[in-house]
């Protein structure tokens, strides 16, 4: 399930930036392509796909730095009844 979450997040990021190759551990801020538009899109994608609203206290740089940290954010906040395999693709 955790791997599936990571893969969905990875797929979304690379859909926006098809030319980059990133691992689940790469710091996406360090790559220099993050702007506010993408940040908002990423948040909307997470909230819709995993069916929860990201609390203000979780809106910190470090939580969005890597695919792995985003997946961890999802795992901390996702409703127990919604798993990655049930979530919309």
């Amino acid at each position: 399930m955790a791997d599936d979450t990571r893969e969905q997040i990875h797929r979304f990021i690379t859909s926006r930036f098809p030319d980059i190759g990133i691992t689940h551990e790469d710091d996406i801020f360090a790559l220099g392509f993050i702007n506010s538009l993408f940040a908002m899109e990423l948040v909307m994608f997470i909230e819709k796909t995993f069916a929860f609203t990201i609390p203000n206290e979780e809106l910190r740089f470090d939580n969005f730095r890597t695919v792995a940290s985003i997946a961890a954010l999802v795992d901390r906040n996702r409703p127990a009844s919604v798993t990655a395999s049930q979530a919309p693709r």
Binding site: R11, F12, S15, R16, F17, P18, D19, S36, L37, A39, M40, E41, L42, V43, M44, F45, E47, K48, N56, E57, L59, R60, F61, F64
Partner: protein, 389 residues
């Protein structure tokens, strides 16, 4: 010609308005309460109290808020249609709704339970007009990188220092959503207009949206408690601003379509009545060509903002780009065709209190506010390099 009936901007609006929850009710509200006086209050440079009261009675300020928050729970697609209709009547009024919508959206989306309880009722019924403070004397569309208003934490207090300008609705607002630079990044604050150190300086004589009650807002050592901070202290504030501007762009896109439709209506009427060489202007090929382009672009712009609204209603992340595209297209086409509408009206279109002259002036503003056309041009190209997720 398309001049509106003369009346005083202070003339009370006596008919109790019906609730505005869709295009039809917004159209009736606009035709009853806005269009008859729009040119007059545009000339006066201020919004009549009677219209503001009618807007409150109709629930026009933030109908997208959920019912439990005091709104009507209308979709963003419907909100766009409502703002189109209001924009058809008057861009100044629609601009007030735009900034109020942005503040209301922000409080509902990112506010704490306490902030929602304190502010949403007044935002929903219009008794607490909201206004957005981003632009400064030295920065506009580049605000996030060149913001000079500062927010410094001193113990448990935040202190704001700086000047915001071109603030639509600034003369009316009781609540400002202020973006400022803090050590950790850009942050947002809910600032009551009555807070010590807030000074509102009216701006008069703007090119367009002249009745938008614009102001410069001085923030002189404004001390605020932690309850004024909206959203997190860092990362999200750029994002919060993006989310707020996204709502503003939907409104401006729809309002621009309203200007376009008003141009069509005015030109259709004028070219039917006005004759040259014994025939109505509408028979002339050059007139028909101009109006054909006007009709086509209006239909396309309407589809674009409705698609952006549909994506927003579906919480689809594609709405951000779709809204930029809609705003860019609708605003530039509004400016182009309002120019043509004045040309079609000739000297009558240049006359004092000519409606098409107002559309022309207002349309130019649409190309600048909520991210200039140049900002959209720098950004929308990204869509060409994406692939489906």
């Amino acid at each position: 010609m398309s001049r509106q009936p003369q009346s005083s901007p202070d003339e009370p609006v006596t008919d109790a308005p019906a609730a505005v929850t869709d295009r039809g009710s917004a159209k009736r509200f606009t035709d009853t309460h806005i269009r008859p006086v729009a040119d007059v209050y545009d000339s006066a440079g201020r919004m009549p109290d009677g219209l503001l009261k009618a807007a409150s009675e109709a629930g026009l300020w933030a109908p997208f808020l959920p019912v439990e928050a005091g709104g009507a729970g209308v979709s963003f697609t419907t909100l766009g249609r409502i703002h189109e209709e209001v924009g058809r009547g008057c861009s100044s009024m629609r601009s007030l709704l735009t900034v109020h919508s942005m503040v209301s959206f922000a409080v509902h989306r990112w506010g704490t339970a306490e902030q929602r309880t304190r502010w949403l009722p007044g935002l929903a019924d219009g008794s607490t007009p909201g206004s957005l403070c981003v632009s400064e004397p030295g920065s506009g569309s580049n605000a996030t990188t060149e913001l000079t208003t500062t927010a410094v934490r001193e113990g448990t207090t935040w202190v704001l220092r700086g000047t915001k300008t071109w603030i639509t609705g600034g003369q009316l607002a009781r609540l400002f959503l202020v973006f400022a630079r803090a050590p950790g990044g850009v942050v947002a604050f809910l600032v009551p207009a009555e807070a010590n150190g807030v000074e509102v300086e009216p701006i008069e004589g703007m090119l367009g949206t002249r009745a938008g009650m614009l102001a410069t807002v001085h923030l002189r050592e404004v001390a605020l408690g932690s309850e004024a901070l909206l959203g997190p202290e860092a990362f999200a504030s750029g994002m919060l601003l993006t989310g707020v501007l996204d709502i503003g762009r939907l409104s401006v896109a729809a309002g621009s379509v309203g200007i376009l439709q008003a141009c069509i209506d005015a030109c259709a009427s004028y070219t039917t009545e006005r004759r040259v060489g014994g025939v109505p202007l509408r028979e002339l090929p050059l007139i028909r060509a101009r109006i054909s382009d006007m009709v086509t672009d209006t239909a396309a712009a309407r589809l674009l903002y409705e698609e952006a609204g549909r994506l927003k209603d579906a919480n689809d992340s594609g709405t951000i780009m779709a809204t930029m595209i809609a705003k860019y297209f609708a605003s530039t086409r509004a400016a182009r065709h309002a120019n043509e509408a004045v040309q079609i009206h000739g000297a009558n279109g240049c006359a004092p209190e000519s409606s098409v002259a107002r559309y022309y002036r207002d349309a130019k503003v649409m190309e600048i506010i909520e991210g200039s056309s140049e900002i959209q041009q720098l950004t929308i190209a990204d869509a060409a390099y994406r692939i489906a997720a």
